[in-house]
Amino acid sequence: MDITLNETQSLVQETARKFAGADLRPQAASRDESAEFPLESLAKMAGLGLMGVNIGGEYGGAEAGVVAYSLAVIEIAQGDPAVAVTMAVNNMVSEVIQQFGTSAQRERYIPRLTGGEYSSGSFCLSEPGSGSDAASMRTRAEKTSDGWSLSGAKAWVTSGAYAGVLLVWAKTRNTAGLDEISLFCVDPKADGVAIGKPEKKMGQHASNTVSIAFDKVELSDDALLGEPGQGFKIAMMALDGGRIGIASQAIGIGLEAFNQARAYAVERRQFGKRIADFQAIQFKLADIATELEAARLLTMRAAWLKEQASRPFSREASMAKLYASEAACRACDQAIQILGGYGYTREYPVEKLFRDVRVTRIYEGTNEIQRIVIARDLIRQS
């Protein structure tokens, strides 16, 4: 058994770490205030290959693998969690097109997603009335003589206002007249597409989250991604990979909180001692570090399994997302405790991290849904 990183993986980690330290961390607090979308940083990240880490070189990807991708997201999240989610969604969208797209679709979209011509791609599955129960979506694509007509509304679309391409899931009707779910590539500038106002979120302000309405949007036949009726399966496969991204993002946020808390604990003095000399503080640091390390190993294993591509990794990805997001939330909570009153102010970064981390237990499937995925897999194998 060997769980050390290879040279390529550690070089990718180093590049992401340097970039996060020099370009993202110094701006994270002001972007939290302004909620400005980080167009310039995203363009630089595309230049470094971070927008298509696990994408083939023929499409402008880095082909560095899933483990390297996870390592990179961990580092970027330490610099700015909002940028990490934008990166993660862009990588996920690119991977879906790579895996299920026709060669024309791949050539059209992926180089623009990896190369920065599109600041991002978007993943439009959730709706105002359908979140965990994605299959109950109401957006519908009706077959027309030369394509499709798409109508409905999507919610919570990450990067939606800046996306170059939208992946939109919609109900379609099969030849037997039954409903099924299909997936479409939609141009956000097409007639009938209306992008809503950005949500005012608790955290991750520099990420963009909008609802999008579709009113009889005309799609040509080649907008269909994958086979008709294959949409739901594609969504679930994409989310398996996406969960590795969110687990990595959570770990990055947790590590940043840990580093801030440790640095504070060895400086701050009370009762004539460093607070790091109190066992109560030491135990908090020990617990945070232990849980984040466990989360990291779960996530690395899920990433490694996906990279091997020899067996399903859905259970492991859900375990990683579930555990990492909960460990990271505890880490941020305890980091605030270690900083005391200062931790509760915007003078110090842990307050923002606490707000940023919370959604990792909600998106890409709530943690309740992760437990359902894990339990079903366990019971299936009993």
């Binding site: 550690s10 070089l11 990718v12 590049t15 230049g47 470094l48 070189g57 880095a62 560095a64 990179a72």
Partner: protein, 248 residues
């Protein structure tokens, strides 16, 4: 144009250095390593020279097998070919310069651009010694570099300001901080670097004796600096400088 640059694997300068109890060296357990930051400027400049004038960038490291990572980083930034002169011995600047001199004799580069010093031992000698061993011109502490018609014009950081020096190539240029802004190794660059040639030699292969001329007796930590104090007035400041710090 054939351009030679060097990288040293150094302890992470952002980490706290701890000295062994017997003062024979520093504690390396749990220490992270990275490319010497001055070498990043050297590598960047070498790559820019290639981008401007064409040719090849060769990156050399003298050190342990793990230093392939620093070489690979330079290859990922855009260098073409690596040479590791592998040794686990403690090296002084003179030994490194003797090894590099032999590599330069074999490779016959048109220009040698290296970091002005390493951020671990901060000795700032290798470039100068190398120039001396090779009997080549040198321009140290470069903040600007222009190459044309077999000459290099080098803007140098010197005490009290800057100066300009013109040297005939081949020459040794040592890089200072303002020379450029080193690029990151991009992910596609990292993947390409895997396939670039990296040869490993030993000092013996080069026929160089690396026995040190400098003997380190012991390591000592600098005295801890006491916290500063804020004074209320200029008079008070002068009083402190005169009577407490005793510097005026």
């Amino acid at each position: 144009m054939k351009i030679l640059t060097t990288v040293k694997r150094v302890t992470d300068p952002d980490m706290k250095v701890k000295i062994k109890p017997d003062q024979s060296g520093i504690i390396t357990d749990g220490v992270e390593y990275r490319m010497n930051s001055f070498d990043e400027y050297g590598v960047e400049e070498a790559i820019r020279l290639k981008e401007l004038h064409g040719g090849e960038v060769i990156v050399v490291s003298v050190g342990p097998a793990e230093a392939t990572k620093e070489i690979r980083t330079a290859l990922a930034m855009g260098a073409d070919r690596g040479i590791l002169v592998e040794t686990n011995a403690e090296l002084d600047s003179d030994a490194v310069a003797r090894v590099l001199a032999e590599v330069v004799r074999r490779e016959t580069p048109d220009i040698i651009v290296i970091g002005k010093q390493a951020v671990d031992s901060d000795r700032n000698q290798t470039g100068q010694l190398l120039a001396s061993y090779l009997d080549l011109p040198q321009a140290t502490f470069a903040y600007s570099l222009e190459v044309a018609d077999g000459w290099a014009v080098v803007g140098r950081e010197v005490d009290g300001g800057t100066s300009t020096k013109r040297v005939k190539l081949p020459a040794i240029i040592t890089a200072d901080l303002r020379l450029n802004e080193p690029r990151y190794a991009s992910l596609p660059g990292i993947m390409k670097a895997k396939r670039k040639p990296l040869d490993t030699l030993t000092p013996a292969d080069l026929g160089v004796d690396i026995a040190p001329k400098v003997r380190v007796l012991r390591y000592e930590a600098p005295e801890e600096r006491a916290a500063g104090e804020i004074v209320g007035s200029v008079d008070e400041l002068i009083d402190r400088l005169r009577n407490k710090a005793k510097v005026i």
